[in-house]
Amino acid sequence: MVQVENLTKLYGEFVAVNELSFSIQPGEVMGLVGPNGAGKTTTLRCLSGIIPPTRGTVRVGGHDIVRDAIAAKKQIAFFTDEPRLFDYLTVWQHLNFVARIYQVADYERTGRELLEELEIANKLDALPGELSRGMKQKLAIACGLLHSPKVIYFDEPLTGLDPLGIRRMKDSILKRARDGAAIIISSHLLHLVGEICSRLLILKNGRKIIDGTLGEVTRKFSEQPGDANLEEIFFRATSETGMPAPAVPPLLPH
């Protein structure tokens, strides 16, 4: 569904993403992890057509994101870590607006279902300024899912959600995957990645450290089967020496 070949993004002389290649199939959920500044957000921005790659290609559903941008973008939904909404549009006006952009003819039915599912159906006439952060995120999600995207990118999807919201978000992501969407999740929350991702791609300094199923990645970074959890794997994969990070003493004495 998404094919990335030799994706490189430069800012001046700074290499944000370096020769990145991978692909993701329908129904897969890929976790994109890496330390701060690894190039995760830049990668997602390139994959969604927000910024052009300096080199390399990104194909979404067979359409090149640069040359055939319209066809590619029609299949994508990108959820940023901060919900980005128009201050002067109400909840329902947001859906109406997005429906026209993506030409969703039956948006009224789909929109109402989504709002019901996300439990903001009683806020139809509210402006974003009147919504809590969690509700804003739900609205952004409703807008993104309105056109039934086949490819979904999440940048830190759990930021600002309450425990119930987190549970619903995880369920929602898995449901979309079951429905055949290809999903990429960029997150620092390794337990989230471990819970819902079927694949893992670790980035460091813009370079791919490893890409594979969770089992493959675990096997590669474990000295013995089952001796490492995802956190250990992350530290081993991203540390300079390949060694696990030293145990951190508790901040407060027991």
Binding site: G49, I51, D87, A99, I101, Q103, A126
Partner: protein
Amino acid sequence: MIAALLYLQYHSFRNRLVSRVKRLKQPKYLIGAIVGGIYFYFYFFRYLFRGYGGRPVVNMSIPVVNMSISPEHLQLVELLGALVLFVIVLLAWIIPHERAALTFTEAEVAFLFPAPLTRRNLIHFKLVRSQLRILFSALFLTLISRRFGGNAWIHALGWWLILSTLNLHFLGSSFARTILLDRGISNWLRRLLVFGMAVAMAGSVWVWAKRTLPEPGSADIANLNAILDYAQRVLTAGPALYLLYPFRLVVRPFLAQDATVFFAALTPALLLFLLHYLWVIYSDVAFEEASVEASQKLAVRIAAVRAGNWQGAKKNQKAKRPWFKLAATGPSATALFWKNLIGVGQVLSVRLWITIVVVVAIFGVSLGNIGRGQNLSLMAAILVVIALGYSLLLGPQVLRLDFRNDLPLADILKTFPMRGWQIALGEILAPVAVLAACQWLLLLVGAGLIFYLPGKQEALFLAIALGAAVLLPVLDVLLLLIPNAAVLLFPSWIQAGKDSPRGIEATGQRLIFALGQMLVLLVALLPAAGAFVGVFFLLYFAFGPAAAVPLAAFAATIILAAEAGFGVMLLGKLFEQFDVTEEPAN
């Protein structure tokens, strides 16, 4: 404790200054600083420490005007200044309704409020911090007032004294307001009492003037000098002289003609300043809770303005109805047009319309008075023409519901499955439509007035109105394309709001921008102007001016429309190439 607060003040100021100096390494700030510096020098600084009669170095700016006050008018000017101060103070007691809230930043609230500091420490911190703003304001006002003569140091100190006393008074009055609220005196009751007192004071002056002075005749209001003479008679004797006494003390040092008079006036003014200080310091008012709330609101507004989102910075936004029903299918650009029209509804509030109507009415009445005896419709027609001119000048600056407003959401716009030109077209359509609608309305009014104008030029004037109706919408597109292209080309140069880069370099950037936009517009207008002139003279002799004007306007419109179409495509390309990781405005 106060040393720590001074340390914070000093280092915040110093670090801000250093970072601004450091950014001069970037050409855009350096060029801005040079242009801004030249502007400030020629416009203000060269007059600062030079007598008003000093010869300008280069004769390219507005000449210095000798407006030194004659001794016979000094008392009147002092009283007028006192009157202005009185009105400001009166408004400070009438308008506000909130409880006392010293405005702190969120960081200051987080660090200072839980710290072992007394309330008085916090007030001192606030006072010291406000001094920085006051000093800059005093300097700026001196630069302006110095152009009209007088001693620079006296002006600077005079301004400082006026602004500092006012600052203390605002703070004291906010504390007093809170105390009154705590004692059960509502805002409306307080307003009524203060207003009643002001009316009583004005009434006493009026009664005195009525009993003592002869009725003002037509000669007393014939011109400005006559009005001033009459005002002098009313204000320089009787109760006004005493009622305004404290305010006179504050303005007196500023108006001093020499150092001796200044120092003589300084003592009572400083005494008044000291009294204000003691009032503020010894008012034991709990301002913390309101301050925390105010700081949070301020932070939200600053964040919104920094993001270029003026709408988000506004208080009490209300949901607006869409101007038309948006179907789910059809051209995508219409969605952006629809969205921005809803946003226009936030800008063009009922209050704004009332303000516009009041301003136009006042302007119209004054014009009517000036042109008393002349044809009123001629005055109204002149007003329409002036309003049309201003719509072209100010319209594109006021109506910013386009890329200038949506740039902080550029990454979201870029995910839309739309071509660049479609997004560009959708973005600028709303301001163009609103502007064109206003202009057509004005033209309609103007066309109605034509039949009441003196002379027999109805056909020609109607032809001009028709030509303008065809030409203006396309011209609006061009006028809006230029700032939109500018914001995409130089996003970090565009001033986002009150929290955007300030100072000499920002002024320079604005000047360069204004000049650049004017040049681009001139270049864009040249071919259309050529077409207009060509067609006009071609048809003038055959069919007369009434037919030549609209046809020439039509020809010019075709040229402008072609340019506008090209401009939209170009704007779309610029948006496609726009890098969302570009340095933000701040």
